[in-house]
């Protein structure tokens, strides 16, 4: 069946429908990873967005459920050049087609994803609609696309209740802003007992459980919309409990301390971004997924300093807070998908907790 991708600038791509045959409006973003499509699909940070994969051959190794980064896929839509008709991998349990159907996610295949990516790169991230209605009417659709706002998405992706992932080592409180499972797994693997809290848990509740450290996760959407959470983070900042934050958590902690965030033209989404640790001068290739970036210009220099920068565009990739056991990064040391080069940051977090004890 034919499907169409309509962008807010009026561009229309014709392809074939994959997954659910329903209309969807979303923000269109591209990801340049060549592997890890399932991890991308199940990353809660994609809630409220439709993802284009720039790599043209998707689904080659099928679906290995154990690689899911959360309980379900989150993007509103999925856009690819070509889906493999026969997946091949010893762990494969299903095809990506079945997976999209099962979770009622519409998508489009067979379009020129490179042309689409170039458009998004040049014009910036745009809203778009995936539809199977051949008789679509641009005049009514385009205003709807322009109006569309992602809205508060952290609420949608966070866990409903607190739960514990047992471990014999340090006690870590993980604030789930849309956490990828490998964050908790990385801590578990290092012996930590991880208690996962819903995004709107108060600072008092978390501190009452007496954690050795607090982990702020990744998550979707515009950080400035998370007003209440930012207030709670201010309290956590004052608590002196070691804090390590990733992605949205990093942005929220910065906002809680006087920094600003702004939306990037088309974000960083992929597994090849070089980040430089300013302390050591070392460069690591990182996994990234963010559309907003921290702006430290108005931040009090005595509160925090930039600890990591992106080698390509010089944007802030991490902050170290002065006189506090807090450091935060924009990229994803938990990888999945992408390079595992910065996994050492979890060890650094463990060391912080040790020193504080």
């Amino acid at each position: 069946m034919k499907a169409f991708l309509i962008l807010e600038d009026g561009t229309v791509f014709e392809g074939i429908s994959i997954g659910a045959q329903k209309d969807v409006i979303s923000e269109i973003v591209f990801n340049t990873s060549m592997t890890g499509y399932l991890e991308v699909l199940t990353d809660p940070s994609y809630a409220g967005q439709a993802v284009v994969m720039t790599y043209p051959l998707i689904g080659n190794y099928g679906i290995c459920y154990e690689d899911m980064e959360s309980a379900r896929p989150w993007p509103d839509g999925y856009i690819v050049r070509e889906l493999s008709r026969l997946p091949s991998n010893f762990r494969s349990q299903a095809t990506i087609q079945d997976f999209l159907f099962k979770y009622d996610i519409p998508g489009i295949a067979g379009i020129d994803t490179r042309a689409l990516t170039k458009l998004l790169r040049e014009k910036g991230t745009m809203n778009g609609m995936i539809t199977v209605n051949e008789a679509f009417d641009l005049h009514t659709i385009l205003p709807r696309l322009k109006e569309y706002k992602t809205g508060k998405v952290v609420e949608r992706v966070t866990c409903r209740e607190t739960y514990v992932l047992p471990g014999t080592g340090r006690k870590v409180a993980l604030l789930d802003l849309g956490a990828k499972q490998n964050i908790a797994r990385s801590l578990n693997q290092r012996g930590c007992q991880v208690t996962v809290y819903p995004a709107h848990t108060t600072a008092e509740q978390i501190l009452a459980d007496n954690p050795d450290g607090i982990m702020l996760s990744n998550g979707p959407g515009d950080p400035k919309e998370c007003v209440e959470i930012i207030e709670e983070l201010k309290k956590l900042y004052r608590s002196d409990v070691p804090i390590f934050a990733i992605c949205l958590g990093h942005q929220l902690m910065a906002l809680a301390n006087g920094a600003d965030t702004h939306k990037m033209k088309y974000g960083h989404r992929g597994g090849n971004h070089p980040v430089k640790d300013l302390e050591t001068g070392r460069v690591y290739i990182s996994s990234q997924n963010h559309g907003y970036v921290v702006d430290t210009e108005n931040m009090d220099k005595s509160v925090a300093e930039v600890a990591f920068v992106n080698v390509n565009d010089g944007t802030v990739e991490g902050l170290r807070y002065h006189d506090k056991n807090i450091f935060t990064v924009q990229f994803h040391p938990e990888a999945c998908p992408g390079p595992q080069d910065s996994a050492y940051l979890f060890d650094r977090f463990l060391k912080m907790m040790e020193v504080t004890r």
Binding site: M34, R114, G270, V311, N312
Partner: protein, 1068 residues
């Protein structure tokens, strides 16, 4: 970390002659690295014995030595040039080994020279089998468990600890002879016993068998600060067991999930960190297809063939970055030359799929075993890019220029299912076609997988191509079907054949439906950043992103495709120099080529690069968009020449010699007419189509005759026939492929062969020099030792050659290059071949004379006159140096290939010896070609009857040099009858100890075996030559070569050699 200021003068070691396993990729890497160093103000001293390379040009390095790559020679150069550093990681294994030799002898230290790039300790750790194993164990990276055993009991005991199957590799046997895979104790005992006997040192390595696992490679970079990235990973479609150089390879990996991909990536980084590599490195893994278990197969601490492929596949210039790292830069300080926005510490992301297919030489070596093993056999490769795998595979297949445009070959149609399955089991260069045939027969994927161990994802992709064949055969050709066929890159000619239409009809239909090729850019970043480097590949069914340019003048330069015997790196040299010359003349330059190993396909050589097959349809897609003002075909070898007619039909003017005149040189009858007009004699001959006609022609001419197809290169299919039986055999071989053109039968003249490359501007000619071949006519010119300037011809012959060249160039209206081969027989000059194009001798003649021939030819093509360019027409003054070009062969790599020389070319590469005296030049050439004598001063001579008299003098001279000569009965008897006593050895079929045992004794320096021509050549001789080659003994099959060798040994030795910096050679 910025540049290390103490590095000012660097010696870069090249990789030497092109041999199987070490080809043009090192010219590409070396050239890029030298340019990268010069960019930094470093004085570059370059040494490489290979004159056909671009890196040995004086505009690439400051001081250029085309000298033998041996430690004593390098010492001389270092003493003369006094570099502060040596960069050994860009010239393949040859350069690495040499640098280690100089390091270990303490020479570098003594002379205050540092190894830059990767450190000696690193090289040792990576290269030494034991040290490598220990290092891997230390960091917990798994290797296939193995042990060296010296008896059967130990072998069984070790195997019991690791389990069956195991691979057995005897130490010190070439080409893997005596090895094998044992599945049980019985097989183990048998193979091990044999292997222990064959090994010179009585050792066999017993290793866990990982054949059938997925073979995955990572190209990684690391700087001295410890930053690392992976440039690319690649998946071999053929599982472990076939050398990666002989495998069909896809980039990036297709069947690995992120978990596998990252696991191996982390392992690769872990390894290079532990080895402390600074520069580029290749890590090969075997990955179990049904688990996460993996083994590290090998690490190459240098740039390699795979890194050239990775560079072209991603756009990331590995050699350039490696050179900068060697100077001290870190990855985040080096700008990405394609995006200008990102840095070298950015990992390339592909939004397309790349397929590499090796070019194997079995069309040249009909007797060689086609079986693919861990010993590489390919001479070159092609690469193709598309946004789907099927398309990339189809494009790569037709890039090979092996008479195949699709997966359809007729050879298997009549095979029974059983035979087909048996064929599937055998890994050879044609297996992909067998798989396609199996799929056509409906053999299930699982069965094919079971036999081939190829992942079913790839089998399914081949099935998609086979299904398309069926659809095109059986369904109406709708717009949708045609679109889909083009999307997966079915060429029009194949669609035409399958649908029973003409190619023109398909083209018209495509125009009607608006189905045309679009071009996409290789930008290293999957479109994330804007790139400015116009490096393109074609796809169907997408938006065109070609940046249209309308410069004043635009030229299309057609490259020479994959490296094969007869068409080597020389043509890339010519293409690149022509491109540069066009650029200087104000043209926008466009290169089309499909060879990832070459300099021409580097993204900054031409203004635009199209990585595409060199077929009429693919070239036309480019022409339609680019509308070039002309195309130049005379520098890209036969590949480009073949496109002449098609280009004319597309309306592209051929720059330089016109198409009709190109044709006149190749068409026998037209050519005969011209020769007659010019009053130039040629050996008598006829054109024929059948064996019967050929025999009639031979009867008239009288045997021996030369039999060959027209329109070929490298004398392909050319043979000397001495009887009717030979003719039947040779014509049969030629007619394996349908011949569009007649077969030529010529009288064979046994004279002296001479060769000329000339530039002609329509009026005047410029002849840089006359070259003379050491071997008499009958040995292909590419396999002959060629000497400049000619040493033994009379003034009269020389004048005749110049005059004939002038006449021919003028009557063929040559504008640009012409290559003519002559025979001088009884002081009479005959023309035997004319090529209206650049030839393989152009690079070396340019270098020794200092005349930039390709540049001059290009300027002539754009309208300049030779006189305007500051040259006096005619034969140029002889250079101050004598140059000897010596062919180099790769026979030891090709089991079963006959090494005797004849009219069909067999050499893979060449070296140059350059000196003030002929003998020194000759000595250097032999040394460069690996003939380093004496060692044990023992040799074997077996000579056919007709040349025994000549051989007598040779034997005497070797004896005077102190050689002990062994001969079999006939030769020994003849020598004895004529007063030369040599030792008699038993023939092959006689009881041991015989001639073979002599060779296996590893005490023989040289075998001189002069076999009979034609099909009567003895089987014994073949056996002796093969065994000698496989045990590393030099073998000569022409007395002329042997005489040259003996006189070089009489007159020169390594201690007295003078190093020549050819950058100082000037032509006044």
């Amino acid at each position: 970390m910025p540049k290390n200021p103490s590095i000012k003068k660097v010696l870069v070691i090249g990789s030497g002659p092109i041999v199987i396993g070490q080809a043009a990729e090192f010219d590409y890497a070396g050239t890029q690295a030298c340019r990268s160093l010069k960019e930094e103000g470093i004085c570059v001293v370059l040494v490489n014995s290979n004159p056909a390379t671009i890196m040995t040009d004086k505009d690439i390095a400051d001081h250029v030595y085309i000298e033998p790559l041996t430690a004593p020679v390098l010492e001389k150069i270092i003493e003369k040039e006094k570099p502060d550093s040596v960069l050994p990681t860009l010239g393949g294994q040859a350069a690495l080994n040499l640098a280690m030799e100089l390091e270990e002898s303490g020479f570098l230290k003594k002379n205050g020279v540092n190894l830059i790039g990767t450190k000696p300790e690193t090289i040792k750790k990576a290269e030494d089998r034991e040290e490598f194993k220990l290092t891997m164990e230390k960091i917990g990276e798994p290797c296939a468990p193995s042990q060296v055993v010296t008896n059967i009991e130990d072998g069984i005991a070790f195997t019991n600890t690791i389990g069956y199957p195991v691979v057995l590799r005897p130490a010190y046997t070439l080409g893997g002879s005596g090895g094998g895979i044992a599945n049980n104790e019985e097989e183990l005992t048998e193979i091990l016993a044999n292997g222990l006997r064959l090994s010179r040192v009585g050792q066999v390595l017993v290793e866990r068998c990982i054949a059938g696992w997925k073979e995955i490679e990572y190209e990684v970079m690391r700087d001295a600060a410890g930053n690392c990235i992976t440039v690319c990973n690649m998946e071999n479609i053929d599982p472990v067991g076939v050398h990666t150089g002989d495998s069909i390879v896809v980039a990036p990996s297709q069947t690995l999930g992120d978990k596998e991909y990252q696991m191996l990536r982390s392992s690769a980084l872990n390894i290079i960190n532990e080895l402390k590599i600074t520069g580029g490195c290749n890590v090969q893994f075997a990955l179990h297809p049904d688990s996460f278990e993996y083994c590290v197969i090998e690490v190459n601490p240098r740039v390699s063939r795979s890194s050239a492929l990775a560079s072209k596949a991603t756009g990331y210039p590995i050699a350039k970055v490696a050179a900068k790292i060697a100077l001290g830069y870190t990855l985040d300080e080096i700008k990405n030359a394609i995006t200008h926005k990102t840095y070298a510490s950015f990992e390339p992301m592909l939004d397309y799929c790349v397929v590499k297919i090796p070019r194997l030489p079995f069309d040249k070596f009909i007797s060689a075993s086609r079986k693919l093993t861990t010993q590489m056999k390919a001479t070159g490769e092609v690469m193709s890019i598309c946004n789907n795998f099927e398309g990339a595979l189809m494009k790569a297949l037709r890039s090979l220029e092996q008479h195949v445009d699709s997966l359809i070959v007729e050879d298997y149609a009549d095979l029974s299912r059983e035979k087909l399955l048996k064929k599937l089991h055998r890994v050879d260069d044609r297996r992909i076609f067998v798989i396609a045939e199996a799929l056509r027969r409906g053999i299930p994927y699982e069965t094919i997988h079971e036999y081939t161990k190829i992942d079913i994802w790839f089998i399914d992709k081949i099935a998609i191509l086979v299904e398309m064949e069926q659809r095109l055969k059986s369904q109406p050709l709708t717009k949708e079907l045609l679109k889909e066929a083009k999307r997966i890159e079915f060429p029009d000619c194949v669609i035409a054949k399958l649908t029973g239409r003409s190619e023109m009809e398909i083209k018209k239909l495509r125009e009607k439906y608006g189905i045309r090729a679009a071009f996409k850019m290789v930008d290293t970043c999957a479109a994330e950043f804007a790139a400015s480097t116009p490096y393109y590949y074609s796809v169907f069914g997408s938006e065109n992103e070609l940046i249209k340019t309308r410069p004043r003048k635009k030229v299309l330069v057609l490259g020479s495709g994959p490296i094969r015997i007869g068409q080597g790196i020389e043509f890339d040299y010519c293409s690149v120099h022509s491109t540069w010359a066009f650029s200087r003349a104000g043209y926008e330059t466009i290169i089309v080529n499909n060879n990832p190993e070459t300099v021409s396909t580097d993204f900054d050589i031409a203004d635009k690069l199209y990585f595409e097959p060199l077929t009429p349809e693919d070239v036309e897609n480019i022409v339609e968009l680019e509308r070039p003002d002309g195309a130049v075909v005379q520098f890209g070898g036969q590949t480009a020449i073949k496109l002449t007619e098609s280009l004319m039909k597309m309306g592209v003017p051929i720059l330089g010699t016109s198409a009709e005149n190109v044709d006149a040189a190749e068409d026998r009858e037209l050519f005969d007419e011209i020769l007659e007009q010019c009053r130039i004699p040629r050996p008598a001959g006829h054109t024929v189509f059948t064996a019967e006609e050929a025999k009639a022609a031979a009867a008239e001419l009288g045997y021996p005759v030369l039999v060959r197809p027209s329109y070929v290169l490298g004398g392909q299919g050319m043979q000397i026939a001495i009887c009717d039986q030979d003719i039947d055999e040779f014509i049969g071989i030629i007619n394996r492929f349908t011949q569009e053109h007649p077969i030529l039968v010529d009288k064979y003249l046994m004279g002296k062969e001479l060769e000329v490359d000339a530039v002609c501007d329509g009026e005047d000619i410029l002849i840089p020099g006359i070259m003379e071949h050491i071997e008499r006519a009958g040995v292909h010119s590419g396999d002959s030792i060629s000497v400049y300037p000619a040493q033994t011809i009379s003034k009269k012959s020389r004048d005749t050659i110049v005059e004939y060249t002038r006449r021919l160039a003028r009557s063929l209206h040559v504008i640009g290059m012409i290559n003519i081969q002559f025979i001088v027989c009884d002081d009479e000059v005959y023309v035997i071949e004319v090529n209206p194009r650049s030839s393989r001798t152009v690079p070396y003649i340019s270098k020794v004379t200092g005349i930039p021939i390709v540049s001059l030819a290009t300027q002539v093509i754009v309208g300049k006159k030779i006189r305007e360019l500051g040259y006096t027409p005619g034969l140029q003054r002889e250079a101050d140096y004598i140059a000897v070009k010596m062919p180099v062969f790769s026979f030891e790599k090709l089991r079963g290939a006959d090494i005797s020389l004849g009219p069909e070319m067999k050499s893979t590469g060449e070296v140059l010896g350059i000196a003030k005296s002929f003998d020194e030049a000759l000595y250097k050439a032999f040394l460069g070609a690996g003939v380093a004598l004496p060692k044990h001063k023992q040799m074997i001579m077996t000579v056919k009857d007709s040349e025994k008299a000549d051989a007598l003098e040779l034997a005497k001279r070797f004896q005077t040099l102190g050689y002990l000569i062994y001969s079999t009965k006939g030769t020994q008897q003849y020598f004895a009858d004529h007063g030369v006593e040599v030792r008699r050895t038993r023939k092959l079929e006689e009881e041991s100890p015989n001639i073979l045992d002599l060779i296996y004794g590893h005490k023989i320096d040289l075998v001189i075996d002069i076999p009979n021509q034609g099909s009567v050549r003895s089987h014994d001789g073949f056996q002796i030559r093969r065994n000698a080659i496989e045990t590393g003994v030099n073998v000569l099959t022409s007395l002329d070569t042997a005489f040259a060798l003996v006189s070089s040994l009489e007159n020169a030795d390594v201690t007295t050699l003078t190093m020549v910096d050819i950058a100082t050679v000037k032509n006044v």
